[in-house]
């Protein structure tokens, strides 16, 4: 966290290997803390994705489900983007969902992507302040 004073004093954030050390530590620790073998973590992610995919059409290539830490708490953060829909069609129309096979890339007018994971997981990636 860079404080106002740090900035005022011109203390720049670390550029050398220390930022790498910090990143690596954060990764290692969040996995140490949850104490779940990598295969199980992977299986869990697949299951979560499978459940979500039962209800909505998921843009599988851009899914990001990862462990993160906030202070001393670990949390699972899931970013699960939906496949974009065709312009002008009502977002929640179930009839449309069944017939929708095309992937729409044009973002104009498309309804904003919304949370797909319900209450169980957070849907936005938390950024370190």
């Amino acid at each position: 966290m860079v404080s106002f004073l740090d900035r005022l004093m011109g203390r720049a954030p670390a550029k050398g290997s220390s930022s790498k050390a910090k990143e690596r530590l954060q990764f290692v620790l969040v996995h140490d803390r949850i104490n779940l073998p990598p295969e199980q973590l992977d299986a869990m992610k697949q299951e979560i994705l499978a459940v979500i995919s039962k209800y909505v059409s998921v843009d599988a290539t851009n899914v990001d489900i990862a462990l993160q830490q906030r202070d001393r708490d670990s949390l699972l953060v899931a970013e699960v983007p939906f496949k974009k829909r065709r312009e002008g069609i009502e977002q929640d129309d179930p009839a449309y969902q069944l017939s929708n096979v095309e992937e729409e890339t044009e973002p104009t007018n498309a309804a904003p992507q919304r949370s797909s994971a319900g209450n169980a997981t957070k849907t936005t990636r938390r950024r370190k302040s």
């Binding site: 966290m1 404080s3 004073l5 740090d6 005022l8 004093m9 670390a14 550029k15 050398g16 290997s17 220390s18 930022s19 050390a21 910090k22 690596r24 530590l25 954060q26 290692v28 620790l29 140490d32 803390r33 202070d71 001393r72």
Partner: protein
């Protein structure tokens, strides 16, 4: 209750637990506190040599626990500070000679007479660690600004939480200011960000530490040593004084000192 029992531990070995215990003991004694330091590193006795008391040892911690001597007989009075005592570790035994409840009983016998009981923990997360923290009112976790040492500190913090010994407070030892400035060493901010526990002291790498332990006079007795000053500050914080933390990469300069003043009010929470 009287004394506050403070355990110095780390997870990873060689990060400076014994150096810290010896220096805090001396620093507190210099401020007229009644202090006993206990070497709980059974089989790897060290605190005695760092404090220059190795030639006075007759009995040790295990002798007390196994009833071969009275507690008083195993307490070695410091040559310079009459209210500072050391209980040495047994050198020829192992950790299984002591149990967590032994440590609680032992410290309970000392609590009324002293202000501080400092316990030097062995490295690791096994029996020796559990013995050392069993009686603790407060735990200090020593680490170095390196990936492996910080990772092990995190493991210790988790274990302390599991044992209801709180998250503990952190001492970041062997910080090299020039490397931090260049971004080649984790800073105190980085480490506290990662570990999310309170920092009680930042101790710089100091060439005076080894000569000090060579001669058995902890470095804090040297007024000009920066590490020594850092240990004195930690001792004061243990006594409840509010001493602002100074990142070692900031030294000199009016503006820097000014910023330090402000930083102190937010860091020293």
């Amino acid at each position: 209750m009287g004394a506050k029992v403070v355990t110095v531990t780390s997870g990873k070995g060689g990060v400076g637990k014994t150096t810290t215990t010896a220096n805090l003991g001396v620093a507190l004694a210099r401020m007229d506190k009644k202090v006993v330091v206990i070497d709980a590193d059974i089989g790897l006795r060290n605190l005695d040599v760092v404090m220059g008391l190795e030639n006075r040892i007759v009995y040790d911690l295990v002798d007390v626990i196994e009833g071969r001597c009275k507690l008083r007989q195993a307490m070695i009075k410091h040559k310079q500070f009459p209210e500072l005592y050391l209980i040495p570790a047994a050198q020829t035994r192992d950790k299984s000679a002591v149990s967590p409840s032994d440590m609680i009983q032992l410290t309970d016998q000392l609590r009324n007479e002293f202000d501080f009981i400092l316990i030097d923990s062995p490295a690791g997360i096994e029996r020796g660690f559990r013995n050392a923290v069993a009686a603790a009112d407060e735990v200090l976790i020593v680490t170095n600004p390196e990936v492996s040492a910080v990772r092990d500190a995190d493991r210790i913090i988790g274990l302390l939480e599991a044992e209801n010994k709180g998250p503990g407070q952190l001492i970041l030892n062997r910080v090299k200011s020039d490397m931090v400035k260049k971004g080649e060493m984790l800073s105190a901010d980085d480490v506290t960000d990662i570990l999310a526990i309170r920092l009680i002291g930042i101790v710089p790498e100091d060439e005076g530490v080894i000569p000090a332990s060579n001669s058995g006079n902890p470095v804090t007795l040297n007024e000009n040593s920066r590490a020594g000053a850092a240990f004195r500050d930690i001792a004061r914080r243990l006594m409840g004084e509010n001493i602002p933390l100074v990142p070692v990469e900031e030294n000199g300069g009016f503006l820097k000192r000014l910023s330090r003043l402000f930083a102190g009010s937010s860091n020293g929470s």
